[in-house]
């Protein structure tokens, strides 16, 4: 009896973990998610979000909030690693640009906005992922 209960518990826990993994990967606000998909915002080289055109006030507020929270996380991680916030932000930017989905915008090393195609993104030569 106890064995059956235990196995049911373990199974349900495992099921929860499997179910929660993809959900946590897509926890973006709808306004932010649609702005990414339409290319209104893009990933910059410095690890922050940028506007590819003139943004609506509501979108600006959402993106500014995300950038502030990004900077706070960079500050924490940079302090832990003993580097500057800019260095950490740059590394984060390399990763975020490399992981853009096809159709999303990113800043290329020359500063221009590019649309991610099916191939790899054009990364800054200083990026650790661009070897």
């Amino acid at each position: 009896m106890t064995l059956a209960i235990r196995s049911v518990l373990i199974c349900s826990l495992a099921g929860l973990m499997i179910a929660s993994a993809p959900a946590s990967a897509m926890q973006r606000e709808p306004a932010y998610a649609s702005a990414r998909a339409t290319g209104a915002v893009g990933e910059k080289i410095d690890g922050y979000l940028g506007f590819t055109g003139a943004p609506a006030a509501a979108l600006r507020a959402v993106v500014d909030d995300i950038n502030i929270r990004r900077k706070a996380s960079y500050a924490d991680r940079a302090r832990a690693a003993g580097v500057t916030i800019e260095e950490f932000g740059f590394t984060q930017g390399c990763l975020l640009i490399a992981r853009t989905a096809p159709g999303e915008k990113y800043q290329s090393p020359d500063g221009s906005w590019q649309t991610r195609g099916s191939g790899p993104a054009v990364l800054d030569p200083r990026c650790p992922t661009a070897r």
Partner: protein, 101 residues
């Protein structure tokens, strides 16, 4: 003559005048003129040492240091090392804060 001049020059340039004079006093006690033979012996010894130094130099292989300083560029590699170490932390950051990335 040249040796005399050298010795005079040597005394003039020696800034430790107190030590110099004390040594002179010990070698040449006050009131007595130095024995000329001692002076000749000193000069001969100096000339001999100069000659042996010149001979030693002639037999040596001379190695010239480069005129420009040797500079090793390490900044780029250190920067790269730091960035590679940060990638793991950046990946962790995305997993910990999925809503802002």
């Amino acid at each position: 003559m040249s040796l005399d001049r050298l010795m005079i020059h040597d005394r003039q340039t020696d800034r430790r005048s107190g030590w110099q004079s004390a040594r002179e006093d010990r070698l040449d006690p006050a009131g007595s003129r130095p024995d000329p033979w001692i002076v000749y012996a000193r000069r001969a010894a100096l000339a001999l040492s100069c000659a042996t130094a010149a001979m030693a130099q002639a037999g040596c292989v001379t190695v010239n240091a480069p005129s420009e300083p040797i500079v090793i560029e390490l900044n780029v590699n250190i920067k790269q090392e730091v960035l590679y170490r940060l990638v793991a932390a950046a990946e962790e950051n995305i997993e910990a804060n999925p809503e802002i990335f």
